[in-house]
């Protein structure tokens, strides 16, 4: 009887153990007020980033080679010379922290306060000689020039209306929620599979025009009426097939109905 009980408990245990995931989530260090920004940033970094980017931002070049805190098998690039620009982009878009190092980063809820992000950006900037957070001036840009540049550099993946698209192996995100600074950062960073555009390829002045165009593309003048998603012939065809043709068939049935004798 006792043996049976042991077996029953052993059978019941694994599901119970699976039901409780290991504790995970964002580490918010309790730094006393007045802690230097870089110091707070380091504590946040150590708690949330180091498992993939290494204890001092040197990166974890291979999957499974765990160097950071915790026992998450991590892999991430070095942050030694990416600068404040990259850190600001990845943290403010919610791209980082990433739940699985093999996944494509995607826009998600930002889990840090503004102060914490500033601290981490300051810490990453202190790791090496990287570019600062850019300050775009879209009001100096030209929407027409921006359209031209966007068509030749960006529209291949993001579509000419900046609604996003696909490449083999990745997703080009829509730019509808991107801020001006994030667009300027993404062009210089080239997150995930996106190419990098140096100031030689796209100057800061041209970048202003691109940002001005993306801002316009978020709310373009739909002179033809309702936009129905601005996806071109697909939604228009859906309207034709699902509404117009149904209405036409229904009216044909009414008109050609035989007289009841």
């Amino acid at each position: 009887m006792r043996r049976l009980l042991v077996i029953a408990v052993a059978l019941a245990l694994p599901p119970a153990a699976l039901a409780d995931p290991p504790p995970s989530g964002i580490v918010h260090p309790s730094a006393p007020p007045g802690t230097p920004l870089v110091e707070l940033g380091y504590q946040l970094y150590a708690g949330n980033c180091s498992s993939c980017h290494g204890s001092k931002g040197e990166g974890v070049p291979k999957l499974g080679a765990v160097e950071g805190a915790g026992d998450v098998p991590g892999a991430g690039p070095s942050l030694r010379s990416v600068g404040a620009l990259s850190a600001d982009f990845y943290l403010r878009t919610g791209y980082m922290p990433l739940d699985d190092p093999g996944h494509q980063p995607h826009r998600s809820r930002v889990l840090f306060s503004n102060h914490e992000i500033e601290a981490m950006v300051a810490y990453v900037a202190s790791l090496g000689n990287g570019p600062p957070v850019p300050k775009p001036h879209p009001e100096r840009g030209n929407v027409a020039e921006g359209l031209h540049l966007f068509t030749s550099h960006c529209a291949g993946c993001h579509q000419v209306v900046a609604r996003g698209g696909y490449v083999t192996g990745g997703v080009a995100p829509p730019l509808s929620n991107s801020t001006d600074v994030q667009i300027a950062e993404a062009v210089r960073v080239g997150p995930y599979l996106m190419p990098t555009f140096s100031p030689h390829a796209i100057s800061d002045r041209q970048l202003d025009s691109i940002i001005a165009y993306v801002a316009y593309a978020k709310h373009p003048d739909d002179r033809g009426g309702w936009s129905i998603g601005r996806l071109g012939p697909v939604p228009e065809g859906l309207v034709t097939w699902w509404i117009a043709i149904v209405a036409l068939v229904a009216s044909c049935l009414v008109l050609a109905g035989r007289l009841k004798s």
């Binding site: 892999a75 529209a155 083999t168 192996g169 190419p195 009216s251």
Partner: protein, 333 residues
Amino acid sequence: MTKFKDWLVAGAVLLLSKTHPSRRDDEQRIVPDAPPDPRAETWVLALFGLASLAAVGFIVVYALDRLSHQTQWLGVTLGLALAFLAAACTVIGKRLVATEELAEDYPQPDDHVGDQEAVVEIVEESGDRLSRKRLLKLGGAAAGGSLGLALLTPAVSLGPVFDMSRFYGTPWTRGRRLVDERGRPYRADGIEEAVFYTAYPEGADRETIGAPVLVVRLKPAALHLGSHKPVAEWAPQGILAYSKICTHAGCAIALYRKPTFPVTEPRPAFVCPCHYSTFDPATGGTVLFGPAGRPLPQLPLLVDPRGQLRARGNFDQPVGPSWWGVRMEKPNP
């Protein structure tokens, strides 16, 4: 003034008075008699009124010009006017115009046997005057056949049939410089990693299919071009040039995917936006994915003493979408 009043009264009387059509006796009527339907008439009048209102609304919206969503209002008013008019016509057709259904039996099939024989006889006897029937048939077939052939002839303009030589031509010759959109020569040290560039042959027609090339720089250690393509000739300093025209359907390859962290992310590749053919620049343009049937043509490069990029020769294979015999010849300038 009184004359105007007279006209007004006369018009009102004409409009409002009920007409009394001259009714013939029931025996003489073709269409069966049916009682008037005042309710349906009222409906029709109401629908006509609504159609007029909607049409006037269209004019008002057009005249106001400063309404928000003006296009939508124009569409709604015009659409409603047409819909009300159609509804009025439907009510007239269904309720006010007298209709009747008459069924007529089909004739029995064997009723026509005599007629069929007569037709056959007429056809045979009509041809009695022809003495060289076979020759005439042959002549008719020749005329019809050559007319059909004449109609098919313009299809030859769809493409060359026998002479494919111009498919192999490209503007690239040894020593020709690679220039950007504005005609400025590319320098080898200006080609950065993780960026992709479109280059054109200097002083040549950019509209030809062989003209545009993609230029990228990869780490020399990542290259696997094969033994028949020495790195010094095909990728000096790790710089590679490929035709920008997809070998599947001839679209311009506009996508370059570049991993930020190559350990976990897909390898660098050119992607065609039309059907997602994906080419690997590190292995000589081989197809990684998609419907393209052959690799992307690669252009051998050299860096001149001034550091500028020049073509070392022509592409390793013909440019553009494939055709039968695409592998039979090498491209030529």
